[in-house]
Amino acid sequence: TPVLADGFGLGRDATPDEVAAWDIDVRPDGQGLPEGRGTVAEGEEIFTAQCAVCHGDFGEGVGRWPNIAGGQGSLADEDPVKTVGSYWPYLSTVWDYVHRAMPFGNAQSLTDDEVYALTAYILYLNDVVLEEDFELSHENFTEIRLENEDGFYMDDRDTLEVPQLTGEPCMEACKPSVEITMRARVLDVTPDTADDDAAA
């Protein structure tokens, strides 16, 4: 390994194959997408076999496992339902995350075409595409837009909150009276207490 001219001369050049093996990330502009394609129908088959046990046949989520479809229009509700269709801004995130981290317990086992097919099926579950023969590929990928792309904005605490929360606070006679309005023990969901109560 040749010593580098600058710096500490530590490390070695990464080979193109090494970079290709680990550099699998995809961006909203499509950078990082490999060549490939898959249809909704193909995706449904893979989803049923590998995903539905946790995420449900229609992406509704089983038990506490994440739901990935539905909830459109619920984000300002008391109980918002945040899914790919209702909340996620970019389709690239779906492709990237499914490819890098799913199925849970068997990550990075899906081929590129399978990930395109699953992504197409997730679009179908969320009514972003309506036809079962819709094919998603590296060529039409960036044409797809999700509903909530414009639903995010940069952290604005510095301008919105910090000025209100900075300065000398009240030390004396800060309010006329105080009342308890809520108690955690009423909910009784803290672990390792049921047996203790029985024993008490």
Binding site: L10, R12, D13, W22, W88, F104, Q164, T181, T190, A200
Partner: protein, 422 residues
Amino acid sequence: MSERSGKTGSTRREFLSKSLVAGGAAMVAGKAAAAGDPAITQVQPWAQMLGEGVDARPYGTPSPFEAHVVRRNVPWLTADPVSSVSFTPLHELDGIITPNGLCFERHHAGIAEVDPGEYRLMINGLVDRPLVFTLQDLLRFPRENRVYFLECAANSGMEWRGSQLNGCQFTHGMIHNVMYTGIPLRLLLEEAGVKTSAAWIMPEGADAAAMTRSIPLEKAMDDCLVAFRMNGEALRPEQGYPVRLVVPGWEGNMWVKWLRRIEVGDQPWHHREETSAYTDLMPDGRARRFTWVMDAKSVITSPSPQAPITHGPGHTVITGVAWSGRGAILRVDVTLDGGITWHQARMSGPSFDKSMHRFYYEFDWDGRPLLLQSRAMDSTGYVQPTKEKLRELRGLSSIYHNNGIQTWAVNEQGVAENVEIS
């Protein structure tokens, strides 16, 4: 001393059983006093028999009397303990350093057990020369030692809608504070040569979640560390052994564990952990993204629901921790009456930027009920807000970044409870 019912029963019984094992300390104040305390008048086994030798405990563990000082999890919080969280037992700790074995855990695909001989760190993207480092390579860079808190963005998240979990371990225990030894990330990036078009980096983990986050290059070049030691020893596997990223003052999710790759780019990646998660939903249905810094926060760790007052009225020590992602904590105020009157607490121990700080408030408790709160102020002048104020600013659905003031109601028996007050 009367037996107590309710949530603090276990803690109290642990305390009593420890006292009894230690020789009947509970009897000291009673009729045995005249005859003398048997803990003194009787020869104790440890004063008579030989203990274990220096070869018995090659890696020491806490006293068996401290067996209750452990991480806990809340099974109903998540679908599976593999992508889940455990909580630091803050109520049992003092000072500012969290013991390595008690540091809370948050994994997305369980604990990766990485062979250090097979460990590689790659730097690629907008660099002059993509590089690969071994662990041995990393150990040859100049190192720094820094104490920082690592707080999960979701710490106290279950409390957004009201009092839910009864104990500071559960309401505030997604935090730890250790001394990291590591390489300034800047040195590694400079070794690869960052191109002028670069504006962001993306660390990536080696576990099955392959965790990724986008971090602005300015932060990466400022104070981020690529760390391989915590509190002097190698990182624990659950904290990213052999190498993790340290992102001082910023939400824990960005402190990528089992760090295998850092890509340099000109735009953020908008990956799962910065779109679906770690974005903060506001009342109008839009969401803040890139809410990186953890604002000033504090909590009284004792008394607290898991650490009741067991000694009755008289001189009483209130203690807790405070921290801020924006700087150091210069001052903490404590109230005994729910915020009508505040008293300046006493800070003790080292005061580092973006680290935990320890405070104490000692007072003579008259046995009347208390409504305890602490209020941190950081070196920028930011004052920890009430939960009410935060809800006014953000509504109820933002999940992350709850740094609101915590209230413990202490009753006449010294039992403490997580409450909200007007």
